[in-house]
């Protein structure tokens, strides 16, 4: 039973910044090239699409299949990767913006 891949772990460990689409789990060279041709040259653009689809799994898988012909496993990997990244960093930044003062240390 495969657990998350190395690529997945690396991607989810930090903010994606300017990483290319190839950095996404499930997206290799071939798929990455196809995505780039369609205009999705950076990982954050794919993230944008993911968010526009409201992080819905089925829709995102469909879209991925349409756009670059990913198979089921690749779709799943990519979806899982993005979802986890969002869980870790999307809400996180939102919380950060809300806080202004700083009564206690960095760990609540």
């Amino acid at each position: 039973m495969s657990s998350t891949s190395q690529k997945h772990k690396e991607f989810v460990a930090e903010p994606m910044g300017e990483k290319l689409v190839n950095a996404l789990a499930g997206i290799g060279e071939v798929l990455g090239k196809r995505l780039e041709e369609k205009g999705f040259d950076k990982a954050y653009v794919v993230l944008g699409q993911f968010l526009v689809l409201k992080k819905d799994e089925e829709l995102f898988r469909d879209w991925l299949k349409d756009t670059c012909g990913a198979n089921v496993k690749q779709q799943g990997d990519c979806y899982g990767c993005l979802r986890e990244w969002c869980d870790s960093f999307l809400l996180f930044q939102f919380v950060l913006c809300q806080r202004k003062t700083y009564q206690h240390g960095p760990f609540i």
Partner: protein
């Protein structure tokens, strides 16, 4: 001579479309304006009715009745082709099926259209038994439906709460795509908070009742797969922040040290124990004296009183110098007076 009273320009666009379709007229492009539809309608249908003179009266009644019942677009479902719907119509139609669609933009439109197609398909009569497992996942009226179709009521009730909308779509998948893709639905259903344990067993029992077993074999694997994806999330976070309390959703946001000097976070707030400017240093010095102020004033007054008492206690007090001068003068005059009296 009966005449058409109604004005096609007053019809709504889908109404015109359906009329055209009913009369076997090819539809114009999706984005074309209503006027195009009206023209086509007038051209073809008026011609037709002109040829069909004898049944004019019937047509009139039918058309008028329909006209009176005609409301805005949303009430008129496009059973045929999602691609002729506008974005708004697509969104509302999806909403009718319980799908809360996100923004329908260029990139998402085709996806939502396909979804709608999948939703519309089971509304039409079924072809194979392969569609049977579709109804096992449906909720509320699932009991009766599944009995009529395949007869597996148990699976429905337990899944109702969590898998309401999603499963219904996933159930449509076998119609349009291959077996392994049914995983998707189970994946997503598994992602909805705590996965109900009996779900696995349910899935197994469904096997007996379905005619096609292919799709359901895959589910246990993917459930595990998803669970393992979920577990590392908590592990990693728990390693990094062992002090956070577990939250119901499993998502715990922790604060990072904000960047010094970034927006709204001036440096002195960041390091309160090290005042940066001399002003603050002085203020600090003034505020934090060794001896309190009131004590200093009290001591001052005590010392002053002591001095006064010492002065008052002196015998030959310094008194007023003018007094002593006057005394001297008065003494001199007295002595002069005495001396004058003494001489004569």
């Amino acid at each position: 001579m009966p005449v058409f009273v109604e004005d096609p320009a007053q019809f709504s666009k889908p109404r015109l479309k359906s009329e055209l379709i009913a009369h076997n007229v090819t539809l114009p492009a999706v984005e074309s304006k209503k006027q195009v539809y009206v023209e086509l309608y007038l051209k073809h249908i008026v011609q037709k009715s002109a040829a069909d003179f004898s049944s004019d009266e019937e047509d009139d009644d039918v058309v008028e009745v329909q006209d009176s019942q005609d409301f805005e677009e949303e009430k008129d479902p496009e059973m045929l082709d999602p691609s002729v719907l506008t974005d708004e119509e697509l969104k509302t139609t999806l909403l009718k099926y319980g799908v809360e669609a996100g923004p329908i933009v260029a990139t998402t439109r085709s996806i939502y259209e396909r979804k709608l197609q999948r939703l519309l398909k089971p509304a039409q009569p079924r072809q194979n038994g392969g569609t049977g497992d579709a109804d096992q996942y449906s909720d509320s009226e699932g009991d009766e439906e599944s009995v009529s179709q395949q007869g597996s009521p148990e699976t429905v009730s337990l899944m109702e709460e969590n898998l309401h909308v999603d499963i219904r779509f996933e159930s449509r998948i076998p119609l349009s795509s291959s077996g392994p893709e049914i995983k998707r639905g189970n994946n997503r259903s598994n992602n909805q908070g705590p996965r109900p344990r009996p779900y696995w067993q349910e899935v197994a029992t469904v096997d007996k009742y379905t005619m096609t077993n292919r799709s359901l074999f895959v589910t246990p694997k993917t459930s595990l797969f998803k669970r393992q994806i979920k577990e590392p999330v908590t592990d990693v976070l728990m390693e990094m922040f062992p002090e956070t309390e577990p939250t119901p959703t499993g998502i715990a946001a922790t604060r990072r040290r904000p960047i010094k000097g970034a927006a709204g976070r001036p440096v002195q707030f960041k390091y309160p124990d090290l005042p940066a400017s001399p002003m603050t240093l002085q203020r600090w010095a003034v505020e934090h004296r060794l001896v309190p102020l009131w004590v200093q004033i009290l001591v001052f007054f005590i010392v002053a009183c002591l001095l006064y008492l010492i002065y008052a206690a002196m015998e030959d007090s310094l008194a007023n110098p003018f007094v002593t001068l006057l005394d001297n003068l008065s003494m001199e005059t007295e002595t002069e007076g005495l001396s004058l009296q003494a001489e004569p």
